[in-house]
C-alpha cells in the first residue's frame, strides 16, 4: 500500500467521521465544525489525487473549496447567532419545526 492510497483512506475516514459528527452531535456549532472537517477531507483527497496524477485541476478545486468554506462560515455563523438569540439554545432539537 503506497502513501497515496493511505492518504485517500485517511481522507475517507475524516469524511466519514465528519458525517457522523453532523448526524450524531446535538450542538449546532459542533455540527458546523464537523461540516468543516468534511470539507477538509475532500481537500485532502483532491490534493492527493492531484499529486498522484500530477495535474493541477485538483489544486485549483482546493482553492475553490477554500472560498466556499469561507463563504459558508460567513453565512452560517450569523444564522446560528440569529437562532440562538431567538431561543437561547444551541440544541438542534429545539429547532425541530424547521424540518418543513
Amino acid at each position: 500500500m503506497d502513501k497515496f492510497s493511505l492518504l485517500l483512506v485517511l481522507a475517507l475516514a475524516l469524511f466519514a467521521i465528519g458525517f457522523a459528527g453532523v448526524i450524531i452531535r446535538r450542538n449546532v456549532l459542533v455540527m458546523l465544525m464537523c461540516m468543516e472537517l468534511m470539507l477538509n477531507a475532500a481537500n485532502l483527497s483532491l490534493v492527493t489525487l492531484a499529486r498522484q496524477t500530477d495535474t493541477t485541476a485538483g489544486a485549483v478545486l482546493v482553492f475553490l473549496v477554500f472560498v466556499v468554506a469561507a463563504a459558508e462560515i460567513a453565512i452560517a455563523i450569523p444564522i446560528v447567532l440569529l437562532l440562538v438569540r431567538r431561543r437561547r439554545t444551541l440544541d438542534a432539537d429545539a429547532y425541530a419545526e424547521l424540518k418543513g
Partner: protein, 172 residues
C-alpha cells in the same frame, strides 16, 4: 542519507495522519465546543503538514492562513460569545446515536469500496508541478471557475448583510 530522508518523510506522513485522525475522533466525542474547535485546529494543522510533505507548499500555507486563521478564529470567537450550557452540552449525542454511527460506518465502507475499485487505474505522474505551473493553469485554463468564485463571494456578502438586516428588523 537519502534513504534516511525517505524514511523520515514517510514517518512524518504517518505521524501527521495519525494526529489528524486523533483530532477528528476527538471532535466526535469531546463535550465542550471549544475543545472540539481545538481538536479541529489540530486536524487542520496536521493536514497542512501533510500538504507540505506532499510538496504542495502553497496549499499548505493557504490551509493554515484561511482555515486555521480565518475560519477557526471566527468560530472560536462565536463559541466564546455563546457559552450556552443547555441540553446539547449535558447530553452531547442524539438519542439515535447508535443508528447514526452504524450509518456512518456503512457510508465509510461504501466509499472505501468505491475508492478501492476505481483508483487502481490511476497512473502516477512523473514531474512535480510547482506554483508556477499552478498559477498559469489557474488563470488561463480555469479562469471561468476563478470568475464564478467572485460571483459566489458577492452573493455571500449580500446574504450576510441581508441576514444581519433581518435581525435588526425583528428587534427594532
Amino acid at each position: 542519507m537519502n534513504a534516511l530522508l525517505q524514511h523520515t518523510d514517510s514517518a512524518m506522513l504517518v505521524l501527521f495522519g495519525l494526529f489528524a485522525l486523533a483530532g477528528a475522533i476527538g471532535m466526535l466525542v469531546l463535550q465542550h465546543p471549544m475543545r472540539v474547535a481545538m481538536a479541529l485546529i489540530g486536524t487542520m494543522i496536521s493536514l497542512g503538514g501533510i500538504y507540505g510533505l506532499l510538496g504542495v507548499h502553497f496549499i499548505a500555507a493557504f490551509q493554515v492562513l484561511i482555515y486555521v486563521s480565518a475560519v477557526m478564529v471566527f468560530i472560536v470567537y462565536v463559541i466564546m460569545l455563546l457559552d450556552v450550557r443547555d441540553l446539547s452540552f449535558t447530553r452531547r449525542f442524539t438519542p439515535l446515536a447508535l443508528a447514526a454511527a452504524v450509518a456512518a460506518l456503512l457510508f465509510f465502507a461504501a466509499l472505501a469500496a468505491a475508492v478501492w475499485r476505481d483508483t487502481g487505474a490511476l497512473r502516477p505522474g512523473t514531474a512535480l508541478f510547482g506554483i508556477g505551473q499552478f498559477a498559469v493553469d489557474f488563470l488561463t485554463r480555469y479562469w471561468l471557475q476563478f470568475e464564478v468564485t467572485s460571483v459566489l463571494l458577492v452573493a455571500a456578502v449580500v446574504a450576510a448583510i441581508v441576514v444581519v438586516r433581518l435581525d435588526r428588523n425583528d428587534h427594532g
